[in-house]
Each structure stands twice: as C-alpha cells, then as structure tokens.
C-alpha cells in the first residue's frame, strides 16, 4: 500500500473529499434530464473515498465510511428494486415512472419521482461495490 508520505496528497484528500461528495450529489440530482445520473455520481463518490484511502490507508477509510461497503451495495439494491414497485398500487405495470411535484417551504416546487429513487439505489450500489473492490485490492496488496 502506498502510504501517504506526501503532505500534498494527504491535505488535498481532506479538502477534496467533501467537494467530491457534494459534486456527486449534484450529478445524481440533475441526472434525469441532463448528463449525470446514479452511476456516474456513484463513481465520483467512490473516487472521493478511494483518494482518502490512498492518502490514509485502509483502516482510516473504513472508519470514515462507518459501514461495510457491502452493506451499502445491498441497501442500494434494495432501494433500486423497491423503486419498481409503487406503480403497481396505481394499477400500472412495474417500473412505470411516477412523478410528484410537492411545494417545499423555502425551496419551492421540487420533483420527486420513482426514477430518482431508482437512481439513488444505483448510486449506493455503485459506491458500495466499487469500494468493496478497492478495499479488497488494497488489503491484498498489504
């Protein structure tokens, strides 16, 4: 494992981590109509954690994550599968997109929809599985 002897890397990893995570959420939310989406956003978030992992090592990255990445992937899959179910209660086939436009205080009208829920599932699945692989490889190298 390349342990962080570089001051630049370890500092930048700390600075970039929150920025990258914010950017990934931005990509996730704009993904339905514009370039972006759950998959690419998941990769960006995973990249943030991997940079931290390079700088501070596996145990530090695991502490930062708090949960096992496999659990994240599992929860993501559950969310993604469940996103297919709601239309059935409206007499529509599975996977039909449903859209709500609630008015939120301060923010105004937003769109909540089943494709977005599905995308969140994809996001978590990608983060979980990429990090599982990355941590496994890093541990194997040690």
């Amino acid at each position: 494992m390349i342990q962080a002897n570089s001051l630049i890397l370890s500092t930048m990893a700390r600075v970039l981590l929150p920025l990258q995570l914010l950017f990934s959420v931005f990509m996730l939310l704009r993904g339905h109509d514009l370039p972006g989406g759950g998959f690419i956003a998941g990769l960006i978030a995973a990249a943030a954690f991997i940079l931290y992992l390079f700088a501070y090592g596996v145990p530090a990255a695991q502490r930062l994550l708090r949960v096992d990445p496999r659990t994240i992937a599992g929860v993501g899959l559950v969310i993604g599968t469940l996103a297919a179910v709601p239309p059935i209660f409206f007499g529509l086939p599975f996977f039909t997109g449903l859209w709500w436009y609630p008015e939120l205080p301060l923010i105004g009208p937003v769109s909540i929809n089943t494709p977005l829920i599905f995308d969140i599932g994809v996001y978590l699945t990608v983060v979980g599985s990429v990090l599982t692989i990355a941590i496994f490889l890093a541990e194997a190298e040690e």
Binding site: D68, R70, T71, A73, G74, V75, L77, V78, G80, T81, L82, A84, V85, P87, I88, L92, P93, F94, F95, T96, G97
Partner: protein, 505 residues
C-alpha cells in the same frame, strides 16, 4: 397483471436484502427459506391465473410492445416458473444444513436468490435480448456459486463451464444482432410476425441454426456438453442439485420457445437436426455415465442423456410429442434434483461420493434406500412412477411418426439408465460398508453419533419423492397442463395476440 413480474422481482429483492444483511448468516438463512417459499407461492398464483385467464402479459414501465420489454407467461412459462419455485424452496431448505459456513459468509444466499431471479426471468421474458440478459445474470450467479470455496477442482470445472457458456452467449448475441438487422425488432412475438415476411429463407435458416447451437450448449446437448460433467460435481451438493434441476432446462426452454414460436418455417430441416442431436445426446450421455464411479458424476451424465428426450419431444413436433416433452421437463427437474439431494444425504452419512467408499446404506438407513429408489427408478422409466409416463409419451409420439431410429435409441437409453441406477443401488445401498471407511463415518451411518440436522436433508427429499409418486399415480393434472401448453405452443397466434393485442398482425 402483476403476477408475471413478481417471480422475477421477489428473488431480486430477497437477494438484495440478503446482501445488506451479509453479516447475519442466520437471518440470511431464514430469508432464504421464506423468500423461496414466497417465490413458490407467487409462481403457483401465476400458474393459476394463466390456467384460468390465458396468457398473462405485462409491459414493463408501461411501454407498449414491441417497444418496451414485455414479460409474458404462457402455460409453458408458468409451469417452468412453478418448477423454479419448487426447486428453489427445496434446495434452500437443504442448504440451511449442508452449506459450509464459509460459503454462507461469502455470499451463498444472495447468489442463490440472484440465480433464481435469472432463471425465472429467462422463463418469463418475451423479449429476445432480455432473454440474453437473464442468461448472463444466471451465468454470473452460477459461476460465482461454482467457485465459492476456491478449491482446485472447482476452478478447473468452472473455467470449462464459463468458457463454453461464454461462447454460447457470444453466439446468441450475434444471432440477436442479425435478427434485429433482419426484422428491426427484439420482441419475440413481433419477430415471429415479421420474420414470416422476410424474403431470405437461407439467412433465416442460418439464424435458426445459430440459436440452436447457442441454446444447445446451454442445454448441454451433443456435441458441446463437456462443461457439464466437468463442473457440476464440484460445488456443495445443494448448489449442484439446483444446477442439475434448473440450469440446463433453461436452454431446453429457450429451444422450445424459439422453435415453436419463431422458426417454424422450415421444420423439415431444423427439426431434423434437432432429432439427430437428441438421439446423439441421449446415447453419449448414458454411455458416459456407464464409465463413471462417482455418484454425482454419474448423475451429471444422466442429465445430458435426459436432455435428449426433451429435445426429442420438440424435434418430432407433433401435438403428442410436445405434450411428452413438457411432461418430461417437469418430471425430470423434480427427479434429478432429488437424486442429487439423496447423494448429498449419503455423503453426509459416509463422507464420500465415490462408489467404492459407499456401502451399507440400505442396512442401516432403509428409509433412505426407499427415497433413492423412487427417483432412481423414475429416472429409468419404470411404472408406476412419473418417468414411465414421460418416456411413454415421447416414445409413443416417435412410434406414431414412424421414427424407428430415435425410438430404438430412447428405449436403449432407458435400459442403460436402469443399469446406472442399479450400479449406484448395488454399490452404495446393498453392498456392505467397505472396511476402509473411517470409524467416525460408520458411527454416523449406524446412528451411534446422531446428526440433529439430518431432518433438514430428509424434508426436501421426502417432499420431492412424494411429488414424483403423485405425478406417477395421478398424472391427470400434469398431463392436462402439458396438453394445454402443447396446444399453445403449436398455435403461436395465441402468444402473438396476447403480446401485441388482437388483430395486430
């Protein structure tokens, strides 16, 4: 109607939850049993609906056919789905007591659910490209299940398994590409309609043969069946049993679907090849089994020979032959899985699958002997068990068509199957316990050191044996189901109308 999608979504969801609970093996086990039980219930609901209301169709995401992905359940698809449910439930119960702890920690349960989702998806999809995707899901899950544990023999088998199956997938994908180029659609019902207007009979026949070879590999038909006996005996026995029951039958199902719905324009040519393939598959499988002395390998080779009978039903392409073929698939899945489960119980007692290390089972466990005889004699086709009726139907169809060659091969194969079953019976059950068997295993056999989990092995075996007896003694319900599904297969218009809407073609 939602019935048709539940058998696909349910195992996907169960697999996802099992993955999220990957630290809690006990919870995964419960979820495995409950989830597969629910799968069985949902498939029975589906079959009930299809039986009473005809072909059930659902356009995913509300995108009408032929543009979206359609899930379709005709009677054949629904019967296959029910069999998937039964096998999933039986092997899940069996897995709770037999799967090594390490395998459970490394994802046995999520993969099991994923495999069932792939199999159910393949049976219920109405889209040829989607069928390819489900094949890949199945291949992925089964490959991971094969190599869990990472023993040398497993790796060796898995590499052959994955190489040949990838070759088949590649061929399948190329065929799908050519199909799309010819007719511009991927919906199977729509392909069937549009292909009739394509004015290139040569190209269509080539396409048919590409599908045939690709599905033939998946079904372990002659000549590309090597992957099956190389790999099926390597994973834990519950996994072997599930593979033996379901995986090759997905290939057979795909052949049935494609060669009754889409490629019926040149039956003399395509179904003649299928008939030759069926005969050679039967012979090579059963002769291969005669040379084996490891229980699971004997049983693996018999899967191949039995596939021959199913393809024979399709190749003869008469109403009776298709009834026999469908009946045969249902009978075979139940019986073959059960034989693997019995072999697993014998392993539990004596610690080996080699015939020379087995013996004395009948003396100390007469009930297990009975439980072996039911599926074994059924496999060989002795009355009054389910296998007799299944063989009788396909062979009768052969006699009516005056295809004496294939009838002779089918009868000979039945006889040689009996030889193999008697070999296992004689060595493992009647023969005395060999002297080199360790003290510990003898104690397990005689019951001196009781095994508290043994009932979890017996439960599915007894259930499946009861099902075999039931089909044999009271065949009317299954026969009627098979007859009705053969009627649907021979009249593709029913399927096409259900998917595309009345009067669309």
């Amino acid at each position: 109607m939602p019935q048709v999608a539940i058998p696909v979504l349910l195992p996907l969801l169960m697999g996802a939850i099992s993955l999220a609970l990957h630290r809690h093996v006990a919870a995964q086990r419960w979820l495995g049993v409950i989830g597969t039980g629910a799968l069985l219930a949902s498939t029975l609901w589906l079959l009930h609906t299809v039986w009473h209301e005809g072909v059930v169709v659902m356009h995913m995401g509300d995108w009408e056919a032929p543009f979206g992905i359609t899930l379709v359940a005709d009677l054949l698809g629904a019967i296959m789905a029910v069999l998937t449910g039964i096998m999933g439930f039986a092997t899940a119960v069996y897995s709770t007591a037999t799967t090594p702890r390490g395998h459970e920690h490394f994802g046995h349960w999520p993969l099991l659910h994923l495999l069932l989702a792939g199999v159910a998806g393949a049976f219920l999809t109405g889209d040829i490209f989607n069928l390819y995707v489900w094949f890949e899901v199945m291949l992925l899950a089964s490959f991971a299940l094969l190599i869990l544990g990472g023993e040398r023999a497993q790796m060796e088998g898995a590499i052959k398994y994955v190489t040949l199956n990838l070759f088949s997938s590649m061929l399948f994908l190329s065929a799908v590409g050519i199909t799309y180029g010819l007719v511009g659609t991927l919906n199977m019902a729509d392909i069937a309609v549009k292909l009739a207007d394509v004015d290139q009979p040569g190209l269509v026949t080539v396409l048919a043969v590409m599908y045939m070879v690709s599905f033939g590999i998946k079904a372990a038909a002659f000549p590309l069946f090597f992957w099956l006996p190389a790999s099926y005996h390597t994973p834990p026995v519950a996994v072997s049993a599930l593979f033996a029951g379901l995986l090759t039958k997905v290939g057979v199902y795909a052949l049935y679907r494609v060669f009754t719905l889409i490629f019926t324009h040149e039956v003399d040519f395509t179904h003649e090849i299928l008939l030759w393939g069926a005969g050679l598959t039967m012979l090579t499988g059963v002769l291969g089994a005669a040379a084996q002395f490891e229980v699971r390998r004997i049983l693996s080779f018999h899967i191949i020979s039995q596939i021959g009978y199913m393809i024979m039903g399709l190749a003869l392409f008469t109403p009776l032959a298709l009834v026999g073929g469908v009946f045969y698939i249902a009978h075979h899945i139940i019986v073959k899985t059960n034989l693997f489960l019995v072999a697993g119980a014998a392993y539990r007692l004596l610690g080996s699958y080699e015939l020379r290390d087995l013996g004395g089972l009948y003396k100390h466990r007469p009930f297990l002997g009975f439980l072996f005889l039911v599926p074994a004699l059924s496999l060989a086709g002795l009355p009054p068990l389910s296998g007799f009726l299944a063989k009788f139907l396909v062979i009768r169809a052969g006699v009516e068509e005056a295809s004496w060659g294939i009838v002779f091969i089918a009868l000979l194969t039945g006889l040689l199957t009996l030889y193999s079953m008697i070999k296992i019976w004689g060595e493992a059950f009647w023969h005395g316990t060999p002297e080199h068997v360790p003290e510990r295993d003898v104690a397990a056999l005689t019951g001196a050191s009781p095994d508290r989990d043994l009932w979890k092995l017996y439960l599915p075996i007894v259930g499946l044996a009861a099902l075999t007896l039931f089909i044999g003694l009271y065949a009317q319900p299954l026969y009627e189901l098979a007859e009705a599904s053969a009627k649907q297969l021979l009249d593709p218009q029913i399927y096409i109308d259900a998917v595309l809407g009345e009067g669309s073609s």
